[in-house]
Amino acid sequence: MQRQRKQFNTINAASLARWIVITAFVAVTGLIYVYLTVQLYHLGDRKKELERQLVNVRAENDVAQVQIAALTSRSALQRRLKEGYLKMIPIAEQSIVRLNTPAEVSSENAIQPVVNQRAGR
């Protein structure tokens, strides 16, 4: 009796490998998709947070500008001057050095102007 040859189911290694690669690729692609989607959500949240911070910084900047404007306004400076926090000394006429050409008095200025005594009030 002829010895019966043992039957083997051959595995097509190439095909198996191909399927493994395809499956792995699909799985990895899926994972990457999920990962990237989650990342996008996180980045979106981060973006919103940064936007909020930027708005806050701008707001703080605006508040600071308004405070500067208020503190350097004429009324505030005059109040401080009255309260004695600021000292101002008028510059005497003889202390002023002018670089521009002095205006000439035309011959029409024959009329002598007068001193206004009340102006010095």
């Binding site: 707001a59 508040v63 404007a69 505030a76 102007p113 007068v114």
Partner: protein, 586 residues
């Protein structure tokens, strides 16, 4: 027919095919035909159009000092469909925002998707509310960027700057007239919310960035404005007039350097202001100008070559009957030159000058000087004044109008007329806006000086100028307007106050002084007007009340503008030598 397996199989296939075809058709119908409708319904449920508010532009003076600015705040809004617990939310909102609880509850129960709870909420309050909502797990309340308009200088320049309403719309002054530039353009963004009401940034839809309002730079110099404000306050204390106006202008360009009115109001506390305090009297108040108007009369006669500056006119010894009515001078003047008519301010002389040119020509010159029409300044509510045409004149109008009666002018028009004299006869359009810029400083628009017309020839302007120098001298009516070291041209005015009921109010006067300095190269024109100054009757004149105010302003302005005084004019005559009580009356 035998129902063999093949037929049964075909039948099943057919049924499935039909079934799936129906499904497919339905799917195509829903996804393609009804796509927009259902997408809209879905979006309505989750998508929300978020407004991104543009910031209102700032108002700045000529040197870039801030006159009006914004302080950030937030607008608190609610979406009633997102509110998870209205009963708990209402008291939290009411307490934090300082609103009546029943009002908040009523708003939230309406089912509306956009409910404005409170505007202009300070940042600190908004942060506190946000924290409370988070800890109490309350939903449906949103925060939108907003701002509050602030005016750091309070009452200074209040009539010019104006103010905005609660919706940030300008309703007075520059805030109103430059609204187009200041308000900017709001942006928007379509956002989606999750169930918790939080934005899903990934699904942001269409978006348009806001464009902030442009900055408006005025021609007003706050330093000069401060000088004017201090002097007008001093005048209010000293003379307690009903109203007062001071204008400072650069004659060559028409730039308004300062403009102040009394009564005024505090822009920080504008809700308390009365309507009378809010009027910019420089452009909306009409007055009879009095003798300052004689510059128009003299300019007309000189420009028409009817007279020369040295032509002699008989002034009827101070009393002239014309048209059945007497016209008086304050002194019995006899023969006077045209120049002296201005220097001494003779009413009879002015009337005769007007008669020499005739009604029609005189009227034409009045109009050419800009009276009877709006000047076109960038401020709202300006009035044109009243100048009747000759056909409406009475027989004596030709003798009354030359001395500034029977015409209604605004202080700004009077300033412009004087500026035309200072400017060699050129009438310019007044400007209070210098330029418009973007937030990063790029110029959007520049308002260039505009010469409206050549009213009189440069020679005539020079002749008038020479006469006006004499007014501010020991011979003239405005000796008190003098500033040591400078030559000044000017004209006083004293007009009896017009009664709203008709006629004139006894013992009440509108006193004024209009002048420019230095006479050789005018740097500024100024007008001082005081309505019903409380002073002794013998001192209630333009030369004694308004002229000294001009002098003080001019002296300080000259220092600020670094105008060099003439050494030879440094030691002038003393004003006490001038008979103020007599010659300075008119």
């Amino acid at each position: 027919m035998k129902w063999n397996s093949r037929i049964r199989c075909a039948l099943v296939c057919l049924i499935f095919t039909g079934l799936f075809s129906v499904f497919s058709f339905r799917l195509v119908y829903l996804q393609m035909v009804k796509h927009d409708e259902y997408a809209g319904l879905a979006a309505e449920k989750h998508v929300y159009k978020q407004s991104i508010y543009a910031e209102r532009g700032a108002i700045l003076d000529a040197n870039g000092e801030v006159l009006a600015h914004n302080v950030p705040g937030e607008t608190i809004v609610a979406d009633a469909t997102h509110v998870n617990d209205a009963a708990r939310l209402a008291p939290v909102l009411a307490e934090t925002l300082g609103l009546p609880q029943n009002e908040v509850s009523e708003k939230l129960s309406g089912g509306r998707r956009y409910i404005v709870l409170k505007r202009q909420v300070p940042q600190a309050t908004a942060v506190a509310l946000r924290e409370k909502l988070r800890t109490d797990n309350l939903r449906g309340v949103y925060f939108e960027r907003d701002s509050t308009r602030v005016y750091p200088n309070g009452s200074m320049l209040c009539h010019v700057i104006g103010f905005t309403d609660f919706d940030h719309k300008g309703i007075q002054g520059i805030e109103s007239s430059m609204e187009e530039y200041l308000h900017g353009q709001n942006g928007y963004r379509y956002v989606e919310h999750n169930r918790a009401g939080q934005e899903i940034v990934l699904y942001r839809g269409q978006e348009r960035a806001p464009r902030d309002g442009y900055g408006v730079h005025l021609t007003v110099d706050l330093n000069l404005q401060n000088i004017v404000e201090n002097e007008i306050d001093a005048a209010m204390r000293e003379y307690r007039p009903q109203k007062a106006t001071i204008i400072l202008m650069r004659p060559q360009t028409g730039e308004i350097l300062a403009m102040a009115n009394r009564p005024n109001f505090d822009l920080k506390d504008r809700a308390e202001a009365k309507p009378e305090q809010m009027k910019n009297r420089a452009i909306i108040d009409m007055m009879e100008p009095g003798s300052t108007f004689k510059i128009v009369t003299a300019a007309c006669a000189l420009n028409e070559k009817k007279v020369r500056p040295d032509s002699v006119i008989f002034c009827e010894n101070g009393l002239w009957n014309y048209g059945g009515r007497a016209l008086h001078d304050h002194k019995p003047y006899g023969d006077m030159t045209v120049q002296d008519i201005l220097i001494k301010s003779s009413n009879v002389g002015a009337a005769k000058l007007a008669l020499s040119v005739g009604e029609q020509k005189f009227y034409e010159y009045i109009r050419r000087f800009g009276f009877g029409e709006r000047t076109g300044i960038e401020l709202p509510g300006e009035i044109p004044g009243v100048v009747h045409p000759p056909r409406a004149w009475s027989k004596i109008s030709i003798t009354r109008i030359p001395m500034g009666h029977e015409v209604g002018v605004t202080p700004l028009q009077m300033t412009l007329a004087m500026a035309a004299i200072a400017n060699g006869g050129k009438l310019v359009t007044p400007r209070i806006v210098k330029s418009v810029t973007t937030a990063d400083g790029q110029t959007v628009s520049t308002f260039t000086p505009t010469v409206l017309r050549q009213v009189i020839s440069p020679e005539t302007a020079q002749q008038i100028g020479s006469a006006l120098r004499g007014v501010v001298s020991d011979r003239g009516t405005a000796a008190a307007a003098a500033v040591p070291g400078f030559t000044i041209c000017g004209k006083t005015g004293t007009a009896q106050k017009v009664s709203p009921q008709g006629g004139y109010e006894h013992g009440k006067y509108v006193v004024s002084f209009s002048g420019y300095m230095p006479a050789e190269r005018p740097e500024f024109v100024a007008l001082v007007v005081l309505d019903d100054a409380k002073t002794k009757a013998e001192l209630n004149y333009g030369g004694t009340v308004a002229a000294p105010i001009f002098s003080r302003i001019a002296e300080k302005a000259a220092r600020y503008l670094d105008l060099e005084p003439h050494e030879e004019l440094r030691k002038p005559l003393r004003a006490t030598q001038v008979a103020l009580t007599e010659s300075a009356r008119r």
